[in-house]
């Protein structure tokens, strides 16, 4: 009745490859749900304070550089596309090609960091700190947590790259690439929500003093 009966006892390869693939994907989806909840709490706080300090929030949102924000959105979307190409290559067992797309993804992630660093340093040089106003407190918190996720993603994708170097993936085994790809898309999706929430709500350039 069970295929397990033919498996040697005492080993940790206790899952069929098929079963392992589906388990890993399910686990990642559940984990992504927890990520949405994590950000959801911050979004609730943002919604609450925006409602309470409506004018302040619109004013400060206008001080953010929406052009840089939009550019970063484009950069992340492109990196997601590069990731998709990487997953596709892995599924075909093309390790070298997969590795190249992963490197493209990583480079784009660093471009995102560079643009974010310009934004942060401009704000800080104008004396805008997390303690300046709740809007800025939440801005630095939410974009900071998001940036942390990008950093973790870079580490994971680099690890995948090392695996492609060892020719680890094949048409029957590409689970890590696909699962980390899911994670990378979520990080992208969260930015897609953060960008309009922080930069665009309240009208572009409404309070552009800086």
């Amino acid at each position: 009745m069970s295929h397990h009966e033919t498996l040697p006892a005492g080993h940790y390869h206790h899952l069929e490859p098929e079963q392992a693939y589906h388990s890993a994907k399910l686990a990642m989806w559940i984990f992504l749900a927890t990520e949405i909840h994590l950000f959801g709490g911050a979004f609730c706080a943002f919604a609450f304070f925006r409602w309470r300090y409506f004018d302040d929030f619109n004013h400060y949102a206008g001080q953010l550089n929406w052009q840089l924000g939009a550019l970063n959105t484009l950069v992340l979307l492109t990196s997601s596309w590069a990731m998709v190409r990487g997953v596709d290559a892995a599924q075909k067992g093309l390790n070298k090609l997969c590795g190249r797309w992963l490197i493209v993804t990583i480079i784009l992630a660093f471009v995102f960091f560079g643009i974010k660093a310009i934004e942060y340093s401009t704000k800080l040089s104008h004396g805008i700190y997390p303690s300046t106003h709740i809007f800025w407190g939440l801005y630095y918190t939410m974009t900071g947590i998001h940036a942390l996720h990008i950093a973790v993603g870079i580490g994971l994708i680099y690890w995948l790259y090392l695996l492609t170097k060892k020719e680890r993936f094949s048409t029957v085994y590409y689970t890590p690439v696909e699962v980390i790809g899911l994670y990378w898309h979520l990080v992208d999706v969260i930015w897609i929500f953060l960008f309009p929430l922080l930069y665009l709500l309240g009208g572009v350039g409404a309070g552009a003093h800086h």
């Binding site: 009745m1 069970s2 005492g10 399910l26 686990a27 709490g41 304070f49 303690s131």
Partner: protein, 559 residues
């Protein structure tokens, strides 16, 4: 439950098993065997339970007499805070899932391990890592209470930052366990183990894992915001710059109410396993218990406001939270009726696990009915922040979750260690524990009704100080008996684990799958993956040609 591993039962007892197949500290620390990880969790948690318990005794001793008894006010604040933080975050939140859940889940579903054994080990490592931050909080003199309410929690940044970091990291351990268990239950059940045959402990673990993954991230972001508030002053919870402490309470309780069910649901699962075995009857209302577990998990997300009836909310919202809180009583009562109906006319055997299980039902009923007092708006205005809440909470968590854990520890002890504890000694310890517990907390209901506030180091300026002192004195005396009971349990179980009489594979003649493999189980649990043909509660149903759903049995017992 029929399966094809019965004939191995006794052959391997005492031979190579998960406890002795590898030796040395590193073989445990690096192990990815779910049974070893569960046991390591258990030992760590009992250690923290002992520390938390000693702190409770310090608190109780200080309250024994009016005025200063043994410690000054600031030390008292630290003592009750650390009691709460350690008991909640290091002991009862990981609680049953991390210990018995880890040990039993794969055994009960006929798997060789959880879906992600390395993730499981990581969860334990993260737990140990998180506990260091808790010690750091002690070093910085944390005294906010376990709830970290703002603005109290904005006064001692190093302590609060360490404590929130501890809770955040420990939350990660909890999420990893939850994800792992959900996937394990979905993907790794043995052939024939359909959802309607799943043991109730597994169902309870499933509902708990759902809560772990849905609720824990919310406390994660809440504590992260509090951390950043202390580090950079982001303003969100700081009232003097326009932030809102009540928002902290909302976010905090959105997690911290469901977490009560993270503590209690697995204990209910344990009780559902023990009662049929020692009543020798099938569990009554299997499906009702399953739906009650899932229902409790669902409703638990809609009731957090009952912690904030006097914090400032609109009347309409308070009515809503009050009503929804009453509503949780329905699935809970369904379970109690089912347990009682299972015992009814059974041939009940009063073994120590059964005594603990019955104590759970009794104590949890007191916890539940006093919960109704607190869910009622008018009475809560009086009871809020009094000893009534303290007593209610301890009936729920100690009378419920801890007694449930101890029920399970006694029940599965022979499976875990392959040995037996001393049954007579276990019963004596249980009696002390039961009497001590009730003697400690029943007077606290009265104290609360008379207006004794919680978290006060002293009550000598109250007008009814004489009655307060009298009741506090009784409570403290019984708390020593309670502590003696717990110590005896630990001595008995500790001695039994090393020197106890060898246990057979299935000492209770239970139908559960975990009993159909040697005690202690071999490293991979089952020599061959079992094939399941019926549920595991068919006591007295062996000779029926219908299964528990009323369908004619198709598969005969394998030879």
């Amino acid at each position: 439950m029929s399966n094809d591993t019965n004939h191995h039962t006794d052959k391997h007892s005492g031979d190579v098993n998960y406890l002795n197949f590898e030796k040395g500290f590193m073989s445990w620390w690096m192990s990815i065997d779910h049974k070893r990880i569960g046991l390591m969790y258990l030992v760590s948690m009992i250690f923290f339970f002992a520390i938390g318990g000693l702190l409770a005794l310090v608190v109780r001793t200080e309250l024994m007499k009016r005025g200063q008894t043994i410690i000054d006010n600031d030390t008292y604040n630290m003592a009750f805070t650390l009691h709460g933080v350690i008991m909640i975050f290091l002991f009862i939140v990981p609680g049953v899932p991390a210990t018995l859940g880890n040990f039993l889940l794969p055994l009960m579903i006929g798997a060789k391990d959880v879906a992600f054994p390395r993730l499981n080990r990581l969860s334990y490592w993260v737990y140990v890592f998180g506990s260091f931050f808790a010690f750091l909080a002690i070093y910085f003199k944390l005294d906010t209470g376990w709830t970290f309410y703002s603005p109290y929690s904005l006064r001692n940044a190093p302590a609060v930052m360490s404590a929130t970091m501890a809770a955040f990291v420990l939350g990660f351990a909890s999420i990893l366990t939850g994800v792992n268990f959900l996937v394990t239950i979905h993907k790794m059940r043995a052939p024939g183990l359909t959802w309607d045959r799943l043991p109730l402990f597994v169902w309870a673990t499933y509902a708990t894992a759902l809560l772990q993954v849905i609720a824990t991230p919310i406390i994660g972001i809440t504590l992260l915001l509090l951390f950043l508030e202390n580090a950079f002053g982001i303003g969100v919870f700081r009232p003097d710059v326009g932030g809102d402490p009540v928002l902290f309470q909302h976010l905090f309780w959105f997690y911290s109410h469901p977490v009560v069910y993270i503590m209690i649901l697995p204990a209910m699962g344990i009780v559902s396993e023990i009662i049929p075995v020692f009543s020798r009857k099938p569990i009554f209302g299997y499906k009702a218990i399953v739906w009650a577990s899932v229902g409790i998990a669902a409703i638990s997300f809609l009731v957090w406001g009952h912690h904030m009836f006097v914090s400032g909310m609109s009347d309409f919202v308070r009515y809503l939270f009050s009503f929804l809180t009453f509503f949780v009583a329905v699935p809970t009562a369904v379970k109690v009726f089912n347990w009682v109906a299972t015992i009814y006319k059974g041939s009940v055997e009063f073994t120590s696990p059964m005594l603990y299980a019955m104590a759970f039902v009794f104590l949890f009923m007191i916890a539940g009915t006093t919960g109704i007092h607190l869910a009622t708006l008018a009475t809560d205005a009086h009871y809020h922040d009094t000893y009534f809440v303290v007593a209610h909470f301890h009936y729920t968590i100690q009378g419920g979750a801890v007694i449930g854990l101890y029920a399970g520890l006694h029940f599965w002890f022979p499976k875990i260690f392959g040995r037996m504890y001393n049954e007579k000694f276990a019963k004596i310890a249980f009696c002390l524990l039961f009497i001590g517990f009730n003697g400690t907390f029943l007077p606290q209901f009265v104290l609360g009704m008379m207006g004794m506030p919680r978290r006060y180091a002293d009550y000598s300026t109250f007008s009814n100080v004489d009655t307060f002192e009298y009741l506090h004195f009784i409570s403290t005396c019984f708390s020593y008996i309670n502590a003696l009971g717990y110590s005896l349990v630990l001595v008995n179980l500790g001695y039994g684990a090393v020197k106890g009489v060898k246990a057979t594979a299935n000492p209770y003649n239970s139908l559960g799958l975990e009993w159909q493999t040697p005690s202690p189980p071999p490293h991979d649990n089952f020599e061959t993956i079992p094939v399941v043909t019926d549920w595991s509660y068919g006591y007295g149903e062996e000779y029926s040609d219908h299964d528990h759903n009323g369908n004619k049995k198709v598969v005969a017992k394998p030879a």
